[in-house]
């Protein structure tokens, strides 16, 4: 009897077992990156810049070159990498606290410069690794360990829709918001990431793919209930879909 391989793990998805909590979205995005790099055959021509937070160990699971940045500085680090390697694919992988709290200046500045990098932005509306504190994207009323009665916009302001904020900047080429909550949306996310990486050669500038994600541990919800929260609460504030696509690529 012939054995046929119907599905397998991408070769570039390697290393120790994932350290993430049950239900966490990071593993899905990691796997997508491994698949994309394998399918585009760009292992020799890609450098990832990982950051600080739960995904700080990203480089341990993906078998290609990485530079690991300090907290929030990944866009600046990626700028240096990009200037040294003008023909490569360069991306950063950052959470909401890393990108929009401590790293907002660096994030905004690469958008203003139109730096030819892709920011993969994992938005789960909470600080994961440090134990569930408020992020810039935490929803109004959402409980966290530093907003124990729910986020109050009178004292903390409103959650930030970053792609909408940088969309008018001419150096920003591609902005989209995806989610990894269903097979359909996972496939859509993969398509968006692939598109953004290819764009670095055809239409250089900043791309940002925001990926709505879940952190069941810090939401204090089961993975299934966390997905309900993503559909019901997160998506209603952070609408899915393209925010900016270059005219010539439409």
């Amino acid at each position: 009897m012939d054995n046929k391989v119907l599905a397998t793990s991408p070769k570039l998805f390697f290393g120790p077992p994932l350290h993430y909590c049950p239900g966490c979205s990071h593993g899905i995005v990691h796997r997508l990156l491994a698949e994309i790099v394998e399918e585009l055959e760009i292992r020799e021509k890609i450098v990832g810049v990982s950051s600080v937070g739960c995904s700080a160990r990203l480089h341990m699971y993906l078998d290609f070159d990485f530079v690991k940045s300090s907290h929030g500085r990944a866009p600046a680090v990626a700028t240096g990498v990009r200037r040294e390697l003008p023909k490569h694919n360069i991306f950063t992988y950052q959470g909401d606290g890393d990108l929009l709290s401590i790293g907002l200046s660096e994030a905004m500045s690469v958008a203003i410069r139109g730096e030819n990098i892709l920011i993969i932005f994992i938005n789960n509306a909470i600080f994961g690794m440090t134990g569930g504190q408020m992020a810039p994207t935490t929803l109004v009323g959402q409980k966290s360990t530093t907003t124990q009665n729910g986020r109050n916009p009178d004292t903390t302001g409103y959650p930030l829709r970053f792609p909408e904020l940088i969309a008018p900047l001419p150096g920003v080429k591609y902005l989209t918001r995806c989610a990894v909550d269903s097979p359909k949306n996972v496939r859509k996310t993969k398509k968006s990431l692939t598109f953004a990486l290819n764009l670095q050669h055809t239409n250089p500038g900043l791309s940002l793919v925001e990926i709505l994600s879940i952190c069941p541990t810090n939401l204090h919800l089961s993975p299934v209930k966390s997905l309900d929260w993503l559909h019901d609460d997160l998506v209603s504030y952070y609408p899915l879909g393209d925010i900016k696509v270059p005219e010539e690529e439409k």
């Binding site: 480089h59 078998d63 940045s69 240096g80 200037r83 490569h88 660096e106």
Partner: protein, 358 residues
């Protein structure tokens, strides 16, 4: 540009510009910086010359961004540097620590001004302690060089790149607003492009083994092992690359220890003192880390006394005291707040500490 007798090219340049020109000639191909007085001429010169020479120049949004751009460029195999002045160095400390942990070669130029805080923009040697004792969080050291002339600026930046590359560690040029703005003759003829090894850099995985450049050092035992490895590098550095100059020390009963521009002012004072038959000399540390402990110790054992002269309130004194180890008297004279030492005030200080011989 003028040509002297042996037809070598000699330029009349500012220190801040000479350091930039020498860096490019030595192969630096990435410069990231942010405007701050008194080092603006350096980034302006780089903005013009770096693209001409095929390198990368970018005015960063902050010093914090500058140093992390240096991190990225160095991690990917570039020869990278940044420059700033004292308040900017404070902002760069985060990145410098990460560069040291990730063992990335790079050069940071500090054209010092008076502090703390915004202090003022006048020349000072206010960052000695910061550069030599710390330079960021964690168990590490910067390689620190102290130029005293425009030619030194050119020569030290080359040495800084060489040592940074050899030890895979950040090197800092501790200059100041006066050396930065001095205009003197300088030659670049002897400067050769430095070799660059890229085998550990993240440039795309062309081999089965990929590369990860990171400043995370692992759990306790791994982190301690890394720190011990760094410590061994500093020991080697100390053994092989400690540098200093001496001036009129052979018969000296009093030795002035001074670095950078202060050492130059002290030379003038020493010449004046010698006219009064005062037996005084100078030890000028060129590397502030590693510090020339042994030479100071030797002269202390011979019975010399010491006067430390700095444009700060005595940041180097404890290093001299450690070297002397109680064997001799160590005094201090310094000016702070942006005052430049004068030969006359050093001379009057010298007179206080010596007996005269006729």
């Amino acid at each position: 540009m003028e040509t002297d007798n042996n037809s070598s090219e000699v330029y009349l340049m500012e220190g801040n510009e000479a350091i930039a020109e020498a860096a490019i000639r030595a192969g630096c191909n990435h410069f990231y910086g942010y405007p701050i007085t008194p080092q603006n001429e350096l980034i302006e010169y780089m903005s013009r010359r770096m693209p001409e020479s095929g390198g990368n120049f970018l005015q960063a949004e902050s010093e914090l961004a500058s140093i992390h751009m240096v991190f990225g460029a160095a991690a990917a195999g570039g020869s990278a540097m940044t420059s700033t002045s004292s308040p900017g160095i404070s902002l760069m400390l985060e990145g410098i620590s990460h560069l040291a942990a990730a063992e990335l070669p790079c050069v940071v130029v500090d054209v010092m001004r008076a502090g703390p805080g915004n202090g003022n923009i006048f020349p000072s040697q206010s960052d000695y302690s910061l550069a030599t004792k710390g330079g960021g969080h964690g168990d590490f050291h910067n390689i620190v060089l102290a130029p005293a002339s425009v030619q030194d600026m050119a020569d030290h930046i080359v040495l800084a790149f060489e040592l940074a590359e050899k030890y895979r560690n950040p090197a800092m040029i501790l200059s100041d607003g006066l050396v930065g703005h001095l205009t003197e003759k300088v030659s670049f003829e002897h400067i050769k492009r430095l070799p660059k090894l890229n085998e550990w850099c993240a440039r795309g995985a062309t081999e089965p083994e990929r590369r990860v450049v990171k400043s995370s050092l692992g759990l306790e035992s791994q982190c301690e092992a890394e720190n011990l490895k760094f410590a061994a590098k500093y020991e080697d550095l100390k053994k092989n690359h400690t540098q200093w100059n001496t001036f009129m020390v052979d018969d000296a009963e009093l030795i002035i220890v001074a670095f950078g521009i202060a050492s130059r002012i002290c030379r003038k004072a020493i010449k004046l003192a010698r006219q009064e038959n005062i037996r005084v000399g100078l030890i000028q540390p060129i590397t502030l880390f590693p510090f020339p402990t042994d030479v100071i110790s030797e002269f202390a054992k011979k019975g010399c006394r010491f006067l430390v002269a700095e444009m700060n309130l005595g940041q180097m004194v404890s290093d001299v005291e450690l070297a002397v180890n109680g064997a001799a008297d160590v005094r201090f004279y310094g000016r702070s707040g942006g005052f430049v030492l004068s030969p006359e005030e050093i001379l009057s200080e010298i007179r206080k500490h010596v007996s005269r011989t006729s």
